[in-house]
Amino acid sequence: MSVSFCGLELAHPVINGSGTFDAIAARRAFGKALDDAFPFAAFVSKTITLAPRAGNPPPRLWEAQAGLVNSIGLPNKGLERYMSEDLPELARLPAPLITNVMGSTAEEIAALVRACDARDEIAAVELNVSCPNVKSGLDIGADPGQLEHVLTAVRPALRKPLIVKLTPNCADVAECAKAAQEGGADAVSLINTLRAMALAPTRGHDAAQPRAWLGGGTGGLSGAAIRSLALAQVAAVAERVTIPVVGMGGIGSTAHARQFMDVGATLVAVGTESFRDPALALRIARELHPQHPPGMRRMNA
């Protein structure tokens, strides 16, 4: 039931959403059982940036209606220590490694991508373009023109497949996907979390100045609550582009995974729902019909 994706041969069509599974921490919790029953056909790392980031102050989590609002703030060791400390561990996983990177300028992104290009342990790169532009404050991925421009600049630095993780916080995600394709993306993945907010609970309504619950102020909504929004975005994107699409957003069952493939996703990613059961993706992969017609059709296209 192998699936070919950007030249990679994957055991099945289910991967993880970046930042929703830490294989190294999971090894500490589940031991070798994790490697014996590794749920993902490819492992996507948490977003890596050039410089280390501590992430946002707590609280970082808010539980919403059938969803989760997080403001983790992309904590990571930074490129250098990721390469020296994490890569050897991740290379031992029984699945190809996709490294997710983010930068706020073309130069930063190029440096990240170049570093990934140099390491054989990395099979492909996923570029997170949900990074706020320093000038406009908008995600650099929200403006099709700017996105294509950045990609054209950085694409030559990578000989491996480039997946662009689109931002859902835009007016026309399909247009952004088209721009990514024009810019040289080999695939696009979506959706990332949607901008959300929560206020600290107040017992009764005390006069106390209301304050945001999340240490980061605002956060991103994920999980079951966003599935119908994600399905609409994935369908719109798959209609517009010819490159493969990685669909995600609230996938919590094999039926959900099929829906995303039915609207044109080649791969699906499980994110928040893994928090309810880390082995969920494994169950989905096993239950999925090996050659799922719509998925295959688009892949062989």
Binding site: P58, E63, A66, N70
Partner: protein, 288 residues
């Protein structure tokens, strides 16, 4: 289910089976202001004291206040009764959790009846370390935070010195979970009127050659941490934080480290050496 209590091997961390499993509730008993939830866990390994599990009701998890809960909730193992059949194997037993109803998730778990089922992932996190150089174990608990001290007392094999604090008499009934304990209540309805940390400082003044094992509300943990710090008494604190996953995936459960940066309570804790922290912040995402 025929069971017998067995001292749990004091290992810092038991590896969890990969993937959540279904437990069957065997009893849900009122313990003063708390509920003691007992469940059969035939495939679960014996937890190390201080470890926790992520729990969710198998049916109707959600649709409470604000349509919650959605994610599972973290609960310390309060007790582990190994199945007789598995005397030689560490697999299979009855697990106990002490619950306080503070919101939609705990409310749903508190209403589970015998025969109903719940999802469990665990044991997770790192537990308590035994005392070194003949120090005595000094167990200090506050409120529902007494839960991990009960299983720790079991696995130490000896009652040791146990100091427990509660807000009121109804909560103080939870103390029956542990062997002979000294009590304190805020309202003085049972034992010393005041804080359990009053008892702790007295104990440490009497004999400071101890290792303190503390679990409870942040204010209590911080007071205990400070008391131990000034006396150079080693302390292991069982922390709490709002959690989404419990296995290091979401980076949501962080607390600041002394040396800067954050640690993840679910994989670097919940039990941490007090020396790792500057202070215990009023944690968020779980009841104060």
């Amino acid at each position: 289910m025929s069971t017998r209590r067995l001292p749990v091997p004091p290992s810092e961390r038991t590896i969890a089976p990969f993937g959540r499993r279904l437990l069957t509730v065997t009893a849900n008993e009122r313990l003063g202001a708390y509920r003691l939830l007992k469940a059969a866990d035939p495939d679960g390994p014996a937890p190390a004291a201080g470890q926790f599990a992520m729990l969710a009701a198998a049916e109707r998890w959600g649709a409470g206040e604000d349509e919650r809960p959605y994610l599972p909730r973290a609960f310390s193992y309060a007790r582990w009764l190994a199945d007789r059949r598995s005397r030689r194997s560490p697999i299979g037993g009855e697990t106990h959790f002490l619950l306080e109803d503070v919101g939609p998730g705990t409310r749903r778990l508190c209403e589970l009846r015998a025969g109903e089922r719940l999802w469990a992932l665990g044991p997770l996190g790192v537990g308590f370390d035994p005392p070194e150089d003949e120090r005595r174990a000094l167990l200090v608990g506050g409120g529902v935070g007494i839960a991990p001290l009960a299983i720790w007392q079991d696995s130490l094999g000896a009652p040791g010195t146990v100091l427990l604090g509660f807000r009121d008499g109804a909560r103080a009934e939870g103390a029956t979970l542990l062997g002979d304990a000294l009590l304190a209540t805020d309202d003085g309805s049972v034992g010393h009127r005041g804080f359990v940390t009053d008892l702790l400082s007295a104990e440490l003044d009497r004999d400071a050659h101890a290792t303190v094992y503390a679990c409870g509300p942040p204010a209590m943990l911080e007071a205990a941490r400070a008391l131990c710090a000034v006396r150079g008494v080693p302390a292991q604190l069982a922390l709490e934080a709002g959690m989404a996953c419990g296995f290091g995936a979401c980076f949501g459960c962080v607390v600041p480290k002394r040396c800067g940066g954050y640690l993840r309570v679910c994989v670097d804790g919940p039990v941490v050496d007090a020396a790792e922290l500057d202070r215990v912040e009023a944690h968020v995402g779980s009841p104060a």
